[in-house]
Amino acid sequence: MQKESEMIRSKIWKEEAETDNPFAAKACYCHGYDVYGDLLGKISWPEYIYLLFKGEAATKNQADYLERISIILANPGLRDHSVRAAMNSGVGGSTSASSLIAAIATGSGNLNGGREIYIAIRAWEECGQNIDNWKAYFKNLQKNNRVGVWKDIEHPPGFDLYGVSCATPVKQALESLKENQASNNISWLHKNRSALESIVNCPLSITGVIAAAFFDLEMSAEKSEILYMILRLPGAAAHSLEQKRYGWKHFPFFKNGITLIEKNDK
């Protein structure tokens, strides 16, 4: 290797090369653990994900907690915006990659997407387990008057703008996570759900549950945002493939759905 070669720095990943080929790895280490020589066969998927993002081995409770989060998120259901985007890719016969890209893009935003999780985690960092802090937070949740690539969030993060009462799966997810001893903020949320819902006048949503759960795992806002997007992809993928088989003729086109009105001249 030339001495002046630029390097990629990493605290996560190390590789040792085969003796006959500097481009082939003989051993790969994730945060010090030999992935193929030691971890494989001993470590579960949630444990490996936790190790990748946190740099340390999860406790049994943390691994179980992340597994529950993963199952809650694995399929948002086919009415979800991100899954609909993936299915749109499928029905037209687009590539598998485009299905996932469509799901990630659509599931990245302020409404039930990765950015809502990011905003909600920042809210947890600011408010903690103090109902008065949350009251003040929601009261001040207004336009920050700065144009950026993100629009200001248009509903209380973690709550369902269009909800009438807390949906059963949201309550079931909350109950399930509460069973785990890692559930500090989730327990607080469980206890204070009604009070928070009264403040914002809409019910807790699954994003509110997941944000609290990631906060329990001491995941940063950025890590929570990206993990949320990853963990929701299996459902998008499965539904995209399913609709690809059905084809576009069996998928809504909203044939009579558009009402064209006069353009207001600016």
Binding site: F23, I43, T95, A105, V147, V149, Y162, T259, K263
Partner: protein, 279 residues
């Protein structure tokens, strides 16, 4: 208690119809676009004019289209695969992904905070608000200092990799030829650079292309959001070209990395403890 039924009623309403003035496709007949017939009224339009029309619903003069087109031609589509967005396309090309998927992914990367989408919207937003603040009596140095304090920088000033921005001169020359270089926002963009020299001394941030094209666009009455959307595909030529170049060469040939190129800075080797963490 939640009393949110009015929101649910909105969903019932939304469910029925998508009400819009943007346009509609009438199969086997016509396409209406902002009230115009695409095949009759708009068929001779320059593509970038159609893009601006789609975003704003407004028509533009020939000179304006020339100015906006130059922003795409000169500013955001270098044929160099080391540039981050282009590198995504080149990696997709060398790894034998498909053209549109590679281009789509690279385009999304253009929405960066140190270049591309972030500075593009940030700089025009700053210069429009600066003008408004000055008109209501604020002092330019005060506004700059406040922005530096709040954002630790000013969008459109400073640049990664290089100090000087080689795009300023050709864009400015073109704007001069079109007589579009003397607008209030452009003047302010240069004034900000002068003030930064006074405030920051020898390490002052210099103007980059985002500040100039943002100011030029603002002088043509584009809002910050309109300009951001207009520039969203501006890196596409560099991206597509870099995909094609890598895709035409042997697979895996684009800057392969040997294992040694990873500079590991993490914890030492350790063994997995299957008995770890009982709770």
């Amino acid at each position: 208690m939640i009393n949110n039924k009015s929101q649910l009623d909105k969903l019932f309403e939304y469910e029925k119809q998508w009400v819009t003035s943007l346009g509609k496709f009438f199969p086997e007949e016509k396409v209406v676009f902002h009230g115009k017939n695409l095949f009759k009224d708009l068929k001779d339009m320059h593509w970038l004019h159609l893009l601006l029309f789609g975003i704003t619903g407004r028509f533009f003069e020939k000179n304006q289209i020339k100015l906006f087109e130059s922003m795409w031609v000169i500013c955001a589509s270098y044929p160099d695969p080391r540039i981050w967005v282009n590198r995504v396309a080149a990696l997709a090309g060398t790894a034998r992904s498909t053209g549109i998927v590679g281009v789509g992914a690279a385009t999304s990367v253009f929405e960066a905070s140190i270049y591309g989408g972030g500075p593009i919207i940030g700089s025009i937003d700053f210069i429009i608000k600066l003008k408004e603040k000055l008109e209501s009596g604020s002092d330019v140095e005060t506004v700059i200092k406040e922005e530096l304090k709040k954002s630790r920088g000013i969008a459109g000033y400073g640049r990664p990799i290089a100090n000087e921005d080689e795009r300023l001169k050709p864009i400015l020359e073109l704007a001069e030829n079109l007589n579009m270089h003397t607008g209030e926002h452009v003047k302010l963009a240069f004034l900000v650079e002068e003030k930064l020299k006074i405030i920051q001394g020898p390490w002052a941030l210099k103007m980059n292309i985002a500040a100039l094209i943002g100011a030029l666009a603002a002088d043509q009455n584009l809002t910050a959001n309109e300009f951001y959307h207009f520039m969203s595909l501006s890196s596409s030529v560099g991206i597509v070209s870099c995909f094609v170049d890598a895709n035409n060469k042997p697979e895996g040939a684009f800057f392969p990395l040997r294992c040694e190129r990873i500079k590991y800075e993490g914890v030492n080797k350790r063994k997995w403890d299957t008995e770890r963490g009982k709770n």
